[in-house]
């Protein structure tokens, strides 16, 4: 058996009487781009929250690099190298883009000199390189809260890359982004995967994007795993089509 970067095995989560996830299992092999789709309210974001430790799961297990993480706290999991971005986009609004990037550097070193220290020249270079990568270089001294929504999404993505994650969980990266910019974003996601070696697990509603991006797709509906397979299989799966068109 090969160990996958992330293995979710039989995860269940209920909020009171509402069963948000029931017996979900997914596997994310290292170096791949994996998609997660499903109609609104199907439990995708709940699954993300369970994986990164925002709330405990009721049953099942979550393993990252073979290590059980379902009992760990959010920042501890983040420091292992698994990060998530937020559907509503979260950046530090009253700080400049550069400051947003600098404070997103990994927090694995906890010596006092590191915590109270200054940022080095290579740190600043890395910030500039990544801001240029997402096309925000010219806006680097602006307050992040003054950027447009699409630009904030790009900044959030750059901040995640700044943290050198092994696995990045993206919650609707193209939502609210101008259609002409979406192609550029797809390229950047692929580039982050290919060049920086970041494994991606992507929630996406835009079918064109996810079919283009992912190598393997899981589809949730009503909190349960409905189907999985390569994009063409999913596209032609009758159950998936029905779930999206509301036959349930």
């Amino acid at each position: 058996m090969t160990t996958h970067l992330l293995e979710v095995d039989g995860a269940s989560k209920a909020f009171g009487g509402v069963i948000a996830n029931k017996d979900i299992s997914i596997k994310v092999p290292e170096g791949k781009i994996i998609g997660l789709i499903g109609p609104n309210g199907s439990g995708k974001t709940t699954l993300f929250n369970s994986i990164v430790g925002s709330h405990p799961i009721d049953a099942g297990s979550v393993r990252f690099q073979g290590q059980e993480i379902s009992q760990m706290l959010v920042p501890e999991i983040a420091r292992l190298g698994m990060l998530r971005t937020f559907q509503q986009t979260r950046i530090y609004g009253k700080m400049t883009c550069i400051q947003n990037m600098l404070i997103s550097m990994p927090h694995r070193n906890t010596t006092v000199t590191h915590m109270f220290g200054k940022f080095s020249a290579p740190d600043h270079e890395k910030v500039e390189r990544l801001l240029e990568f997402v096309g925000l270089y010219s806006k680097r001294t602006l307050l992040a809260g003054d950027l447009s929504f699409g630009q904030q999404k790009l900044l959030e993505f750059a901040m995640a890359l700044m943290n050198d994650p092994k696995l990045l969980l993206l919650d609707e990266p193209t939502a609210g982004i101008n259609p002409t910019l979406i192609n550029g974003l797809i390229d950047r996601l692929k580039k982050a995967n290919a060049e920086f070696g970041v494994t991606l697990l992507v929630i996406e509603h835009n079918m064109r994007v996810i079919m283009n991006l992912a190598e393997h797709i899981y589809c949730l509906a009503h909190g349960e795993m409905l189907a999985e397979g390569i994009p063409t299989e999913i596209q032609n799966d009758q159950r998936v089509i029905e779930a999206y068109l509301g036959a349930h």
Partner: protein, 351 residues
């Protein structure tokens, strides 16, 4: 257009003012020393309240602890406890050198004790978010005053006197003016250094979105506790010196003075602009001068005028002076769009 002053000129001017002011107005030394206290209170409050967005109403707690600690250290170093209590205030002054030494040891003890207390209490309560933290700290300050009023060792409700200021050290106002201004300067440069690095940005990140900061792996609680320990250190020493400047420590009115200094430190930081390096300083100067003027010219109505001023500050300057400048003229503080779209551009073309 850029900010018109560079750092060197700015600090030069400030140094000049700090030296010239007491020489020009020797009758106002005590008020100037108080100004130093105000600046320190507002600067240290801003670490937690401004930079980290955690409004604390209990920072006066450390001020009080420092005040008592320094006084107790001084008493136990050079006086017999019973004799000191019986003749409170009328004891012969100790020699200048003994006084300075005891004050120094007292400051050290106050600073260290406050840091430890902040570590213990902070670790327990800084897991609380927002309003809950504010209310918890408010209780801390009120409770401390009541408890101090019941401990005989520190004079209980009838208060405690500090050693008589020796004649050999010149004017008392001038002596403490120097102490407070030196302390404020050290505090300013410490904060400036820290805000320019990882620590400052971490506090700002916690202020802007703590959930995001956690999701990015930040040690949020650790940074918050360290921020509070830093405030506590400077507050403890400030309190220690303040006790000696006033000469008498009342548990509720001077040491744990939540209704006066405890509220003022928050107002001064808000007035000047919280979360900025100069805002709390500017706020403290304006507030203190205005307060002194009210006292002098509106006697009898000074509390009413002060109340009106507080309402005015909160309603018209919710962002404070520095916050207003930042919103109005962002380019002055360097927030502008660069014409260079890439790193290559900015290196190649300066035209």
């Amino acid at each position: 257009m850029k900010w018109p002053l560079d750092d060197k000129t700015l600090y030069g001017i400030i140094l000049l003012v700090l030296v010239a002011l007491p020489l020009m107005a020797p009758t106002y030394h005590i008020q100037m020393a108080y100004l130093g206290v105000m600046i320190l209170l507002s600067m240290t409050w801003d670490v937690q309240g401004g930079q980290a967005g955690y409004n604390s109403f209990g920072n006066i707690f450390f001020f009080g602890i420092g005040m008592y600690t320094t006084a107790v250290v001084q008493r136990s170093m050079f006086f017999d406890f019973d004799e000191y209590e019986k003749t409170a205030g009328s004891l012969d002054a100790i020699s200048s050198s003994d006084y300075v030494i005891s004050l120094g040891v007292g400051f050290g003890a106050s600073g260290i004790l406050c840091v430890l207390v902040a570590l213990v209490i902070g670790s327990a309560v800084l897991g609380l978010r927002g309003h809950y933290f504010a209310i918890c700290t408010l209780g801390l300050a009120i409770g401390a005053g009541e408890i101090a009023g019941g401990i005989d060792y520190i004079g209980a409700g009838s208060g405690m006197v500090t050693p008589v200021f020796p004649d050999g050290l010149g004017s008392k106002g001038q002596f403490f003016y120097i102490i407070f201004m030196v302390l404020a300067t050290v505090c300013h440069f410490t904060l400036k250094w820290l805000y320019g690095g990882r620590f400052g940005l971490a506090l700002n990140a916690i202020r802007d979105d703590e959930d995001k900061a956690e999701a990015m792996g930040l040690h949020t609680t650790r940074y918050k506790v360290m921020g509070w320990m830093l405030s506590a250190f400077f507050l403890g020493i400030t309190g220690g010196a303040m006790g000696n400047l006033i000469g008498f420590i009342d548990p509720v009115d001077t040491a744990f003075a939540g209704a006066t200094f405890g509220v003022w430190m928050v107002l001064m930081a808000i007035l000047g602009g919280k979360g900025t390096i100069w805002g709390p300083v500017i706020g403290a100067i304006i507030f203190h001068v205005a307060q002194e003027l009210l006292w002098a010219h509106l006697f009898g109505w000074q509390r009413v005028a002060l109340g009106a001023m507080i309402v005015g500050i909160v309603v018209f300057f919710p962002q404070g002076i520095m916050g207003y400048i930042r919103a109005q003229w962002p380019h002055l503080l360097g927030h502008k769009v660069d014409e260079a779209m890439t790193i290559e551009d900015s290196k190649g073309g300066t035209t």
